[in-house]
């Protein structure tokens, strides 16, 4: 096994990887920006080295510094997590040249799948269907894009070739609005990936976004681990994922067919390590290759929960040159898992990101609940990074059980100091369409809003009024009390009184 793994990432995923290493008896090295000195990944790692200032370009994207640190501290492998350097073939290449194992696919596979145009061409050649769009590879000019668009037909999507996570993506309904949208997409792509290239893709309406997790070792063994349903998105950012998909459900034929196509796509680029093939699935169960994510996905835990397989540990073993620990026959889906991405954003104010210090938090725990997070009370949420601060994952014997468990976990989860989208997830868990599994990729933006359940709101409106009054009254009392006498702890007027009575 490796002796020492450097984790080239931050936040919950860095913590996740450090945990896997710990549990394999492997030493861990964290790297961090000035804003992350107190981050959990720094606290949990065996070693930690400063990269630079808070902005990613000066820290987590500094591949040169990271390689340098890995060399100096004697790390024999680097895990890139997701985002940052995870899908940079040049970085994987540099690792290889420095004789440091890159825990992920070969540079050639990243390159082939990283440029969405090349990826589409490659898998098409392997006989996999793709969504209609610009097949051309590389840098299309604005004029090219405008010329090609009517042929694909509207609505369509402008997508960043280097993209992912909805960044640099714009939806176009007509040719007229297209020039401005191309500009916006390029600007965002440039800012996010340092590459402003974009391409076009037909927008399949009423589509579901379903992805297949695969694992491949260096000996040509490739298995698929079932699907994840990722249709619940906002601005092309996933918000909530489940495994298995309620759309595929017990259509084992479709599942296996998609799995086999995913394996074929991976084999087309001689893929090694963990990867994900994203498909669009239309109402008639036709499915189209969207893209391959040549890395660990944010939502990998739900697959872990239904298969019982630790994907990150398996990644490390594969990178070490081990054979896959499982065959296709070992993969049995057991029960149902849901992941809610907990973002620091205000669902009542246009989902604007929220920064600040986490003053207090109470994690949901107990049976079937897993929280992956990189934050804790006292930690400062800065504006430099992704707003995702935690992933709340539950498992249940059935989908219904998982939904009920997620409801109770969301109700238990308290985060004070920043706004979070927990109320969004609570509203979603109460939505009849979600419960029925009746949703597609447009659901969140077009047919769901936070006020949908105003009927629910009416139930407790008087309680809300009472709590408002009592809080205002307590505050007034408190102010008065401070004036009257010097109280030790005024945050809790009644409790103090009761506690004193008990101790009399």
């Amino acid at each position: 096994m490796f002796k020492k793994v450097l984790v080239a990432n931050r936040g919950e995923i860095a913590v996740r990887i450090i945990r896997a290493c710990r549990e394999l008896g492997v030493q861990t090295v964290a790297v961090y920006s000035e804003a992350d000195r107190q981050a959990l990944h720094v606290r949990y790692a065996d070693e930690a080295y400063l990269l630079g200032a808070a902005p990613s370009r000066e820290s987590y994207l500094r591949d040169d510094k990271i390689i340098d640190i890995a060399r100096k501290c004697g790390a024999d492998a680097i895990h890139p997590g997701y985002g940052f350097l995870a899908e940079r073939d040049d970085f994987a290449q540099t690792c290889e040249e420095a004789h440091i194992s890159f825990i992920g696919p070969k540079p050639s596979a990243i390159a082939a799948m990283g440029d969405k145009g090349v990826a589409r061409a490659t898998v098409t050649k392997a006989g996999v269907s793709v969504v209609p769009g610009t097949e051309d590879v590389g840098n299309l000019s604005d004029e090219d894009l405008l010329a090609v668009a009517p042929g694909i037909g509207f609505p369509l999507l402008i997508k960043a070739t280097a993209g992912g996570g909805g960044k640099g993506m714009r939806e176009v309904r007509s040719l007229g609005e297209m020039p401005d949208l191309i500009k916006a997409a390029r600007r965002e792509a440039e800012a996010s990936f340092g590459n402003g290239n974009v391409y076009l893709e037909k927008l399949v309406e009423g589509a579901r976004h379903i992805e297949i997790q695969i694992l491949a070792d260096q000996y040509g063994n490739v298995i698929h681990m079932g699907e994840r349903e990722c249709s619940l998105q906002r601005r092309h950012q996933k918000l909530l994922e489940e495994a298995p998909s309620p759309f595929i459900n017990d259509n084992e034929t479709l599942r296996q067919k998609m799995g086999q196509v995913a394996v074929k796509a991976a084999q087309a680029v001689e893929y090694v390590n963990a990867g994900t093939i994203e498909f669009l699935v239309d109402k008639d169960s036709n499915f189209y290759f969207l893209e391959m994510n040549t890395r660990l996905q944010v939502e990998h835990p739900i697959t872990e929960m239904v298969t019982g397989i630790d994907i990150v540990k398996e990644q490390i073993r594969i990178a070490r040159g081990r054979q896959l620990g499982y065959t296709q026959e070992d993969i049995k889906l057991n029960g149902s898992a849901i992941e809610c991405r907990i973002n620091a954003e205000n669902p009542y104010n246009g989902f604007l990101p929220s920064t600040g210090r986490i003053e207090h938090s109470l994690l949901p725990t107990g049976p079937g609940v897993r929280v992956d997070t990189g934050v804790y009370p006292g930690f400062e949420i800065t504006p430099y990074y992704d707003p995702m601060i935690a992933k709340l994952v539950v498992w249940g014997e059935t989908r219904a059980q998982a939904i009920l468990r997620m409801r109770r976990a969301l109700a238990e989860y308290h985060i004070i100091g920043v706004h979070t989208n927990i109320p969004f997830h609570q509203t979603m868990m109460d939505s009849h369409r979600f419960m029925g599994g009746q949703y597609d990729t447009r659901f969140v933006e077009e047919r769901f809003d936070m006020h949908e359940l105003d009927a629910n709101k009416a139930v407790n409106i008087d309680v809300a009024a009472i709590m408002g009054v009592l809080a205002a009254h307590a505050e007034a009392q408190r102010s008065a009390q401070i004036v009257r006498r010097n109280v030790r702890d005024t945050s809790n007027w009644k409790w103090v009184g009761r506690w004193e009575r008990i101790h009399r």
Binding site: A411, A465, I466, V469, A472
Partner: protein, 165 residues
């Protein structure tokens, strides 16, 4: 002590009788209300029912987040209510609106110019933060009065970026 709580257009009259009793719209209820951990988390036992809410001071009164629902609660005591009534409800849809940065970030674009007429919902400014571009929109129609920042500027939270008159 008698208070009037307003949520949207509903009014509730809540009277604090003593530490453990209130009336709401005349009905007497047992209450046990405590803040938890010295945080803005409150536990209420109301006639045996247990509730928990986050309560924060919002711009329009208190924000009560209860069972995944957010309520804007405006609380006034009788005196305040009388004073306001006497002053003739002069809560004007007042003069200027100042667009403040909701978080620290980088101004990416300002698609409006001073003097422009804007409609409610028009994009006033694009602010990049947390790796996302956030479009800040006009809450009402008006004229762009003064733009205090430029594309490329870093702004602090709550910094006023432009105004609408």
């Amino acid at each position: 002590m008698k208070y009037i709580a307003t949520i949207e257009d509903k009014e509730f009259t809540v009277e604090i009788i003593d530490e453990n009793h209130i009336t709401i719209d005349g009905q007497v209820l047992d209450v046990d209300f405590e803040s938890v951990s010295g945080q803005p988390v409150y536990s209420l036992i109301l006639d045996g029912k247990s509730y928990e809410a986050h309560i924060n001071q919002g711009e329009n009164g208190l924000q009560v987040l209860l069972h995944g629902q957010l309520y804007d609660v405006n609380v006034e005591d009788e005196r305040e209510k009388r004073l306001r009534a006497a002053a003739g409800e002069t809560v004007a849809a007042s003069g200027e609106f100042h667009l403040k940065a909701p978080m620290p970030g980088l101004v990416v674009a300002i698609p409006v110019n001073e003097g422009d007429q804007v409609e409610k919902g028009d994009v006033l400014l694009v602010l990049e933060s947390m790796k996302m571009q956030n479009e800040l929109k006009a809450p009402r129609a008006g004229t762009i009065e003064r733009i205090r920042v430029h594309a490329g500027d870093s702004v602090e939270q709550k910094q006023t970026m432009l105004s609408i008159s």
